[in-house]
């Protein structure tokens, strides 16, 4: 007669290098509908942070409004967080990131929060290559307001009430690549084996990383005819690549077949071990992935895996040459370096 998560954990729960178990990365009990794809994504975030030995206090969870944006309450309860206005998570994150670039910024958003009310902000955060991971929990409907079609609902998808969507859906991945995103991936909430390494790679990427995760809404968009139901996604999932994330310190085993496996080196020295399943595609070639995405749309396939990565990415703070010290730690000494320095600056401007 209760809905409380028991305090007991498995006594033999594995610990990571920090001595933490998964429990230390969990949040409070989810109040989303039972079976919601978002909960699986939360679990994948927990697993990724646990396995990467991330200290929870180094993470800032950013979100807007929506079912998706509630989820930061359900993971990493020991991390920082900011639940912003609807669609305004990108600007809040930009501000936070410029003020303190030492944190790991993990933005969580939904299809409405990103592709409708937040579209303007989204476009700019992508083109500025802000150093953050942006996860879209994409269920193609407005679950919080009873399941109306959202801007990412595919053309022809049938809603629970039986109506066909007569508008084209926004392809967030194609759009991001077009806008200059430097890490773009697509996945499915029901495939943690793929999603967890993608989240790890995205968190390691220096620059803007988008993971568009198709996440079925069990209550309003898991019906026959929906293109974002568990069954549909499983049937139409076309995996572009299977990947392993190899962290910096781990030795890379060299016994892989070079004709099949591509190693992609990340900014921080970690590697993505990529098993390309389609020869016609190169993850560092924009044109090939744009073609692949178009072809997939024609064939009603959902391409998943790492779609595009720019290993030469220069993130916003680097570009602007901002200070490494968080603004709240700068003292008067640094901020007012004295009249001599001021004179020097003034001279430069003459």
């Amino acid at each position: 007669m209760t809905y409380i998560k028991p305090k007991f954990a498995h006594p033999r729960l594995p610990k990571n290098n920090l001595g933490y178990t998964r429990k230390e990365y969990e949040g409070s009990l989810s109040t989303l509908c039972a079976g919601c794809g978002h909960d699986s994504i939360s679990a994948a975030i927990i697993d990724a942070c646990f396995e990467m030995n991330i200290e929870p206090h180094r993470v800032a969870k950013m979100s807007g409004i929506g079912c998706s944006s509630k989820t930061p309450a359900y993971f990493l309860s020991n991390s920082h967080g900011f639940n912003s206005v609807h669609g305004r998570m990108p600007s809040v994150t930009t501000g936070a990131n410029l003020a303190n670039r030492s944190l790991i910024y993990l933005g969580v958003s939904g299809d409405g929060d990103t592709a409708s009310i937040g579209m303007g902000q989204f476009a700019h955060v992508v083109r500025r290559n802000l150093n953050m991971t942006y996860i879209v929990m994409n269920n193609g409907c407005y679950g919080l307001t009873k399941g109306q079609d959202s801007a990412t609902a595919d053309y022809g998808s049938i809603s629970k009430s039986g109506n066909m969507n007569s508008f084209e859906g926004i392809d967030l991945c194609a759009l991001s690549i077009e806008l200059g995103a430097t890490f773009v991936a697509q996945s499915f909430s029901g495939d943690k084996k793929q999603l967890i390494p993608l989240i790890k790679a995205a968190l390691s990427h220096s620059g803007f990383s988008l993971i568009n995760v198709v996440s079925p809404c069990v209550t309003f968009n898991n019906n026959q005819g929906s293109t974002k139901s568990y069954d549909y996604v499983r049937e139409h999932n076309e995996t572009l690549s299977s990947l392993d994330f190899v962290p910096v310190k781990e030795e890379i085993v060299a016994d892989y077949d070079h004709t099949k496996i591509t190693m992609v080196e990340m900014h921080d020295g970690s590697m993505i071990k990529l098993n390309k399943l389609s020869p016609a595609w190169d993850p560092e070639d924009k044109l090939s992935i744009m073609t692949a995405l178009h072809n997939a749309r024609e064939k009603h396939e959902i391409l998943t895996g790492l779609l595009y990565i720019d290993t030469e990415s220069v993130e916003l703070n680097e570009l602007l040459n901002t200070t490494d010290t968080p603004l709240n730690q700068l003292t008067e000494k640094e901020l007012c370096p004295g009249s001599k320095i001021l004179e020097g600056i003034c001279d430069e401007l003459r």
């Binding site: 007669m1 209760t2 809905y3 409380i4 998560k5 028991p6 305090k7 007991f8 954990a9 498995h10 006594p11 033999r12 729960l13 594995p14 998964r22 009990l29 989810s30 509908c33 039972a34 079976g35 919601c36 794809g37 909960d39 699986s40 939360s42 679990a43 909430s189 029901g190 943690k192 079925p216 069990v218 898991n222 568990y230 069954d231 499983r234």
Partner: protein, 594 residues
């Protein structure tokens, strides 16, 4: 692995660790829930049907259920199952109207029961409602057997025992007390349709060492001495007492000695303390009464001066282990002398069967024990059955009760002309427990309370009065809190493959990470190791589903499941459900009282 056959009643039975470990398979979580609900009478009847002596066992049981309790794996201590049973007995109302009706017209079959201990009385309890004419023979003046003669009153008050013995004797059972049966042939000659032998293990082992004969006035054999105290023949003992032995009888002897005038009572045992046979709580109770337990001392001789016992000599040893076998090796230190006015020998007990003639068709094995079938409890003579300590050697009350049930089934089948080897299936029921959103028919909140301690009466007072019960039992508040510690292992997690959409919600929510969706393996060990938390406890089964749509299987390690129901709570399609599972072992004639 093959999908689990959860239709096999034993699969879910095994998940209920306490019930599975209990020789009588008492539905423990069922009665604990009833206690929490304040239904003490109902809780008592659940027990009474299964273990016949809830009041006795709630005080004295060896509690094989408690080491098995899941709670002991999840945290430090198991649920105080045994003492909750006592709560049911202490707070029950009059149960006479709930007892089975005894047919006035009998079924024409006469059964003799030799011994009136827990085994024979259980047989009587099961057979009386079926109309059998039952004759109980015992050398004591009341029923109860070793429960009366060997368990001291400060652990088991006579009123409690009397009540539960009388429930049975009042079922038209003919009692022949103060009757020592010296010949089985004489019983068989009375044309009983079947005879049940439940004579226990009534002979205490002696310890013949130099001085045994001269000191005999002050050297006592434990169980005989306890019986003599129980029947008010012995009222005192010397100030200095040595009790030899490390079992529960030794604990009863030393504590009884403290009450009969022993000021300086010590237990001396050959083995290391940790390997003593006595239950840990009985050792604790003895130590609490200022009785030191001196281990690693092997008795060498009785010291006699002027024809009177003055103490005992012991050799100091240490335990060494060769190929897992223990050997007690002398340390070489000089022998130790402990002074004593009396010595009590409690080093074990044996059966005695010299009253069974060897030409009756009852075979005896090399240890002079009757050859008894371990399922049917029939001897090599088709109409003679054994049970309790007399059947397979000394164990405990709950085992005797369990064997009594089985023997009763056999006797009933034998008397009806049926094959006694066809054993009746257990009575198994499965109920829905979903009541609504976030609402289940059981309390699925898992409390973090640690085990509650049973309060005891003032020590000075209990040591003054041999009959004053030491344990006071839980009050209702503590009983409720302790009952809430039960994890409801009988509310089973039931998985239906074809409803599962593989959303992983259950795997994500499970607080103890019991559930893993993964690809199957041929080999169980490989599968066990690839679970979220490797399933290293091989005593606990895996619940493996059939292959799901994506080609994976659901594997649940039963080991740490809290039965909190969150998997079912988070399942969008009710592929997981919590179902209450009631398992009752069959009784003779399929009678059901609770």
């Amino acid at each position: 692995m093959q999908p689990t056959d959860y239709k096999d009643p034993e699969y879910y039975h095994k998940v209920v660790d306490c019930q599975y470990a209990c020789p009588a398979h008492t539905p423990v979580p069922q009665y604990i829930r009833l206690i929490a609900a304040g239904k003490y009478t109902e809780a008592y009847m659940v027990n009474w049907e299964s273990n016949v002596f809830p009041g006795v066992l709630g005080r004295t049981c060896d509690r094989p259920c408690e080491p098995a309790c899941r709670r002991g794996r999840v945290e430090e201590e198991p649920v105080a199952i045994c003492r909750l049973k006592r709560v049911a007995a202490d707070f029950k109302d009059d149960i006479s109207h709930l007892l089975p009706d005894i047919p006035k017209v009998k079924n024409g079959k006469k059964i003799a029961l030799i011994g009136a201990g827990p085994a024979a009385l259980s047989v009587a309890r099961d057979l009386a409602p079926l109309g059998y004419e039952l004759h109980v023979y015992d050398n004591q003046n009341k029923g109860g057997g070793m429960m009366r003669s060997q368990i001291p009153s400060f652990r088991l008050p006579a009123e409690v025992l009397d009540q539960e013995v009388d429930f049975i004797l009042n079922m038209d059972v003919h009692t022949h007390f103060n009757t020592y049966v010296t010949s089985l042939k004489s019983i068989l000659d009375k044309n009983y349709d079947a005879v049940f032998v439940g004579t226990g293990a009534p002979r205490g082992k002696d310890l013949i060492l130099p001085g045994r004969e001269e000191g005999r006035a002050n050297i006592h054999v434990g169980i005989e001495w306890l019986a003599s105290v129980a029947f008010e023949h012995t009222h005192q003992i010397g100030k200095k007492v040595i009790v030899l032995g490390g079992g529960n009888t030794a604990m009863d002897c030393c504590r009884t000695s403290r009450r009969l005038g022993g000021d300086d009572v010590k237990v001396v045992v050959r083995s290391p303390f940790s390997e003593m046979k006595a239950s840990p709580w009985e050792k604790e109770d003895a130590q609490h009464e200022d009785i030191p337990i001196i281990d690693n001392h092997v008795p060498k001789s009785y010291a006699i001066e002027n024809g009177k016992l003055t103490g005992m000599y012991f050799e100091k040893v240490k335990a060494e282990y060769i190929d897992g076998r223990r050997k007690l090796v002398p340390t070489g230190e000089p022998d130790v002398f402990f002074p004593a006015d009396d010595v009590i020998i409690a080093i074990g007990q044996e059966n005695r069967f010299e009253w069974i003639e060897r030409d009756l068709g009852i075979e005896f094995n090399q240890w002079d024990m009757p050859v008894v079938d371990e399922t049917t409890f029939v001897s090599t003579r088709p109409n003679v059955f054994f049970g309790g300590d007399a059947a397979l050697g000394p164990k405990n009350v709950i085992t005797a009760v369990a064997q009594g049930h089985q023997a009763a089934i056999s006797i009933h089948a034998f008397c009806q002309g049926d094959d006694i080897n066809l054993r009746p299936a257990p009575n198994v029921k499965m109920f829905e427990s979903k009541m609504g959103i976030h609402e289940w028919a059981y309390d699925n909140d898992v409390t973090t309370d640690i085990r509650y301690i049973v309060p005891q009466a003032d020590k000075a007072e209990t040591l003054r009065d041999r009959k004053k019960e030491v344990e006071l039992g839980f009050d209702l508040k503590a009983a409720f809190r302790e009952a809430q510690r039960c994890l409801n292992c009988d509310v089973q997690t039931v998985f239906t493959e074809n409803k599962c959409i593989e959303c992983d919600a259950c795997m994500d929510i499970c607080p103890t990470n019991c559930i893993t969706f993964t690809t199957n393996e041929d080999d169980e060990q490989t599968l066990r190791m690839k679970l979220l938390v490797p399933a290293v406890n091989l005593e606990q089964d895996l619940l493996v589903s059939d292959t799901l749509k994506t080609g994976r299987v659901m594997v649940k390690d039963e080991d740490m499941c809290l039965h909190c129901g969150l998997c079912a709570e988070r399942c969008p399609t009710a592929a997981w459900d919590m179902k209450q599972y009631l398992y009752n072992t069959a009784k003779a004639g399929h009678l059901c009282y609770a």
